[in-house]
């Protein structure tokens, strides 16, 4: 990958960064079009693996962007996509946060906080639902989800035990 390719990769991810409202995963079709279809910097299998590997490892799922960059252009590519996707959004987030803190007495800012909170909770419920839905035909996995939720709500058990138990249930029921 040439320096101008790297620069193009970086620039494209900085623009995508500002569009990533509600999670960068919604931008995967655009990332795929740009890196795989348009430039052929990586192939379909590498692209898909980037997403599933990031989901399987600990930490923010945004790291799939790092793997796309790594597959496309090695270490420099990884740095280009990661910094590109983080920098503009992080700047906006900090500025917006300080602004709402400073203006927190304004009625509209207070209304925004009160009004957006229930939507955040509804979206979290929806995320859990969407994650569980593909397991609908698999009673063991649905059971794992239900038991996890119940144990977290009713006990102080460290969720790491639940993850270990879930992995075991997945293997035993396969």
């Amino acid at each position: 990958m040439s320096v101008s390719d790297l620069f193009e990769l970086f620039l494209r991810f900085t623009t995508l960064s500002l569009l990533a409202i509600g999670g960068a995963i919604t931008l995967t079709p655009e990332m795929h079009r740009f890196t795989v279809v348009e430039h052929g910097w990586l192939d379909d299998a590498q692209f898909t693996a980037s997403i599933s590997l990031a989901q399987a490892s600990p930490g923010p799922n945004i790291l799939f962007v790092t793997l796309i960059g790594w597959n496309a252009g090695g270490w420099a590519g990884a740095a280009a996509t990661t910094i590109g996707i983080l920098l503009p959004a992080a700047t906006v987030a900090l500025v917006a946060y300080r602004w709402t803190e400073r203006l927190s007495a304004l009625p509209w800012v207070r209304a925004f906080r009160t009004g957006m909170a229930p939507i955040t909770i509804g979206l979290l419920l929806a995320t859990g639902w969407v994650l569980a839905a593909p397991n609908a035909g698999h009673p063991v996995l649905i059971g794992v989800t239900a038991v996890t939720a119940a144990l977290v709500l009713l006990t102080r058990l460290n969720p790491l035990w639940l993850l270990a138990g879930g992995a075991r249930a997945g293997i035993l029921s396969a």
């Binding site: 790291l63 209304a111 909170a117 397991n135 997945g170």
Partner: protein
């Protein structure tokens, strides 16, 4: 209300919560920041998360920046974000390097499916834990339900739901203030 006593503490707290976050860091952020360390109240957590998700960028990264900034300004923001990304970056790149050797093992696929089911449960539990923050906001229940049905059941795009339901919900909150 407890506080982190140094930028270092902030870095390592975010580091540890990120490393536990298989299939999603958010439930861990809630668990560690609210339940374990007591750096935020539940309703403060919901407010920060609400702002984090209407802004561009990954919610969890935005949240880390805001929590860090709240306690130690820019240095804190960078420490929190850096703490959350550093170790997972090393792990995800190592995994990518090893990937071709073990990705097809059925046992790995099965274990990951099981862990995925746990992540779903962790997120649901977190949402249910945050519900009581809406006790004093009666119309809020309606908007919780609306967001869940539109995004979870009908699979409408999040952006439009946030804009549409958000506008009505914020408007309602403003109107209730004025009364």
């Amino acid at each position: 209300m407890a506080q982190p006593d140094s930028v270092r503490a902030l870095f390592f707290t975010f580091n540890s919560l990120a490393l536990r976050g298989f299939g999603g860091v958010l439930p861990w952020a809630q668990h560690v920041l609210v339940d374990e360390r007591g750096w935020l109240e539940r309703d403060e957590f919901v407010e920060l998360l609400s702002l984090a998700q209407v802004l561009p960028g990954p919610n969890i990264c935005n949240l880390a920046l805001m929590v860090g900034d709240r306690f130690f300004g820019l240095r804190g923001a960078l420490a929190a974000l850096g703490g959350m990304l550093a170790a997972p970056l090393v792990i995800v790149l190592s995994l990518a390097i090893l990937y071709s050797r073990f990705a097809d093992l059925p046992i790995v696929v099965a274990a990951l499916r099981g862990m995925g089911a746990v992540s779903a449960g962790l997120i649901l539990a977190m949402a249910l834990k945050l519900l009581p923050t809406q006790r004093s906001n009666r119309p809020g229940w309606l908007f919780v339900a609306a967001a869940f049905v539109m995004v979870g059941l009908l699979r409408w795009p999040i952006l439009w739901v946030m804009l549409g339901v958000g506008l009505v919900s914020v408007g309602t909150a403003r109107w209730r203030q004025a009364r």
